[in-house]
């Protein structure tokens, strides 16, 4: 007898988290543009506040439109639930602030989005949370950096901008052996290309601004919990396993078991830090997710054509993309990313900083801006923009050179993209020749 089946990814991308609106029959997710929700009576109000009933109280804590996005992402990732946030950075901060206090320590990959590097390396340090950065290519590096006060291991599934492929199973094993959770930033891979929870990660987040939204119209983040990490057994997280005077002496793990992390993150993190997502933003990101399974294969297909052009062009010193055999993460990528390595790549243009600048300025289809994961093709020079606060040494450790250019390949006609890049590469070398 065959067992029951789960809905497929494509179906979940379109439906998860929503039933047709019971009040109006609306098939599209309604935008509940409201701050607050009328209580049935005083007892109902008290019960909602004391978490005796499910429901919405105030849109900083939860909102019906945002809840659809949260549940849809939990379904796509295979988590117990999710919290949508004002940005990807807010999601990272929410995870850290929920799990640790001053005096705690994080072991993080040194190949991170510049904003994450700033948060961990500078800003959190002011609040007594230290981070040790390690090269992510060797899982043993994470183990060596763990201290008694370490509370989290953190890395990107594909590093930014070097595209290091994180060996999620191996790093998760290191984390779990130390009684610690592994948090990954899965922005570049999306649940379509990689399911980090199936590989052993415990928590993940996305900058939903990127491929999830997919159209460059809304800033947002989403933090998802696998519900698999046993906070009680770890014994390192009194934030979740001891009575908390900030919430009626609630012991979150005792109260809710697998929901403990998200319960505290929502009831404390959104309540106190307030970095919530607006309902219209959730609606816009949901529109993107509904075609994620169609867009990602095309992103990958176009990227492969672009990589093929770049790898054979004499103006290019190096192309960094894990599907190329010379990439250090190539073998791992074949194992962990069988559907493709995403749509972000970096290129070192011969001639250094000036050639890189000339290359970017000659592009006509690619837009020069600070974003990735748009349906439109994008380009940026990390050393002077996204990673500009990093020292030269940190830049080198993250694999970023003066002439490194990051591309985010969109959904345009691939021939137009190849032509645009070919022309810009020629332009970049004219500048070198003139010098």
């Amino acid at each position: 007898m065959a067992g029951p089946k789960y809905p497929g990814f494509d179906t979940l991308a379109l439906h998860a988290g929503q039933s047709p609106d019971p009040a109006t029959g609306s098939r599209a997710v309604p935008v509940y543009q409201t701050t607050s929700y009328v209580f049935r009576d005083s007892e109902h109000a008290a019960s909602l506040f004391n978490m005796e009933r499910a429901g919405h109280v105030y849109s900083r804590i939860s909102n019906p439109t945002v809840a659809v996005l949260e549940e849809r992402m939990a379904a796509l990732e295979g988590g117990v639930g999710a919290i949508a946030t004002a940005s990807g950075q807010a999601a990272l901060h929410l995870a850290v602030a929920t799990l640790m206090d001053a005096g705690s320590h994080i072991v993080a990959s040194n190949s991170l989005y510049g904003g994450s590097h700033n948060l961990l390396g500078y800003t959190l340090k002011r609040f007594g949370i230290d981070t040790t950065f390690v090269a992510p290519g060797t899982p043993e590096n994470f183990r060596k950096a763990i201290r008694p006060n370490t509370r989290l291991l953190f890395a990107e599934t594909l590093g930014n901008p070097g595209l290091e492929v994180l060996d999620v199973p191996a790093v998760a094993e290191v984390a779990h052996a130390a009684g610690l959770p592994l948090l990954v930033d899965a922005t570049f891979t999306t649940p379509y290309l990689m399911k980090p929870f199936e590989l052993g990660a415990d928590l993940l987040y996305h900058s939903a601004t990127k491929f999830l939204g997919g159209h460059g119209v809304a800033i947002g983040g989403v933090l998802v919990d696998s519900g698999r990490f046993d906070w009680e057994k770890s014994g390192k997280f009194p934030q979740l396993t001891a009575p908390y005077s900030g919430f009626h002496n609630m012991d979150f793990e005792e109260e809710s078991g697998t929901r403990a992390f998200l319960l505290r993150a929502r009831r404390e993190g959104l309540r106190d830090f307030g970095a919530c997502m607006a309902p219209m933003t959730a609606f816009q990101i949901l529109q993107g997710i509904e075609t994620l399974h169609l867009r990602m294969p095309r992103h990958v297909e176009n990227t492969r054509k672009v990589v093929q052009l770049l790898a054979g062009n004499p103006a290019v010193a190096q192309v960094v993309y894990p599907e190329l055999p010379e990439h250090p993460g190539h073998a791992l990528a074949k194992k962990l990313l069988p559907r493709g390595c995403g749509a972000v790549l970096t290129v070192d243009i011969k001639g250094g900083r000036e050639a890189g600048k000339r290359f970017i300025e000659a592009l006509r289809v690619f837009s020069h801006l600070a974003n990735v994961g748009d349906a439109k093709s994008l380009v940026i020079h990390p050393a002077s923009t996204t990673h500009y606060r990093m020292s030269d040494e940190d830049l080198a450790r993250a694999g970023i050179g003066a002439g490194t250019v990051r591309l985010s390949v969109g959904l345009e006609d691939a021939g137009d993209l190849v032509e645009d890049l070919g022309r810009a590469l020629s332009a970049s070398q004219k500048s070198v020749a003139q010098k």
Binding site: H15, G17, N50, A67, G227, N249, E255, R259
Partner: protein, 264 residues
């Protein structure tokens, strides 16, 4: 709150309240492979509204030490020993699925201690398919998949969880993922082999509430309603928008039904 029963440490959620012998007590008994957290909202409500609550983790579930108890009758007697450990003489018992059979046996085997029972997502006999039992016996993932998918209405596959931001399937799978090997099989086998329903139905004397989900795929409402007709003093409530996991699929309607039952 931790208790010692049969020399083993076991857990029951009390809504972070001290036990007060002057208050009425409600015991919540979870179903196969579940734990106290399945009653999170309902048990918390009663804990803050004039009752002692003991939302227990049966042995080998949640925070309670094992091994699992192999029969419904053993579980019922164990619930009474937990009451002893909590120094409580009487209680109402709310049981879900396998826990509903435990509640029924509590009422019949210990009539002086159980004043009323509420049976959620129930039926009798509670037969389990050979395929499900075998998968659980072999600790296969598809046993957890069957428990998850059949344990909810078909609509739950696509979500719309009343609890904002949570995904019911994900919660179910994560909870089951924490079970020790063999525990789900032990529970399912206890349901499958339980043969005391007819005798218990004839013997029960206390008020009984049955709450069924019309979209239940595990214990179909039609079968549950037929069982209800064999119980004297039984009140039957069927919730339109719920499958087997009434406490999470229809938390408010389930709570309102329980409130009314305990007020009457």
């Amino acid at each position: 709150m931790n208790f010692t029963v049969d020399g083993r440490q076991v857990f029951a959620y009390t809504a972070a309240q001290a036990i007060d012998e002057a208050k009425p007590t409600i015991v919540f008994v979870h179903g196969a492979g579940l734990d106290h957290s399945i009653f999170g909202l309902q048990s918390r409500y009663f804990g803050y509204h004039g009752h002692n609550v003991l939302a227990l983790d049966l042995p080998a579930h949640g925070r309670s030490e094992g091994p699992p108890l192999g029969t419904v009758q053993e579980m019922a007697d164990w619930v009474m020993r937990l009451l002893d450990a909590a120094k409580l003489q009487t209680a109402a018992v709310v049981g879900h699925s396998m826990g509903s059979l435990v509640a029924l046996e509590c009422a019949v085997r210990h009539p002086g201690r159980v004043g009323r029972i509420a049976l959620l997502g129930t039926t009798y006999p509670m037969k389990v398919s050979d395929a499900f039992l075998q998968a659980a016996k072999e600790n296969r993932q598809d046993a957890y998949d069957m428990e998850t998918i059949w344990g909810h209405s078909a609509q739950a596959a696509l979500g719309a969880n009343p609890n904002p931001g949570m995904w019911m399937y994900g919660e179910s799978l994560a909870r089951l993922g924490r079970l020790a090997p063999g525990v789900l099989y032990s529970d399912l086998n206890a349901c499958h082999t339980y043969a005391g329903g007819e005798a218990a139905a004839a013997a029960v004397r206390c008020p009984v509430l049955l709450v069924l989900g019309r979209r239940d795929q595990m214990t179909p409402a039609k079968a549950g309603a037929a069982f209800a007709r064999t119980l004297p003093n039984a009140r039957l409530v069927q919730l339109e928008a719920s499958g087997h996991s009434l406490m999470t699929e229809a938390p408010d309607a389930t709570l309102d039904t329980l409130i009314e039952f305990f007020r009457s």
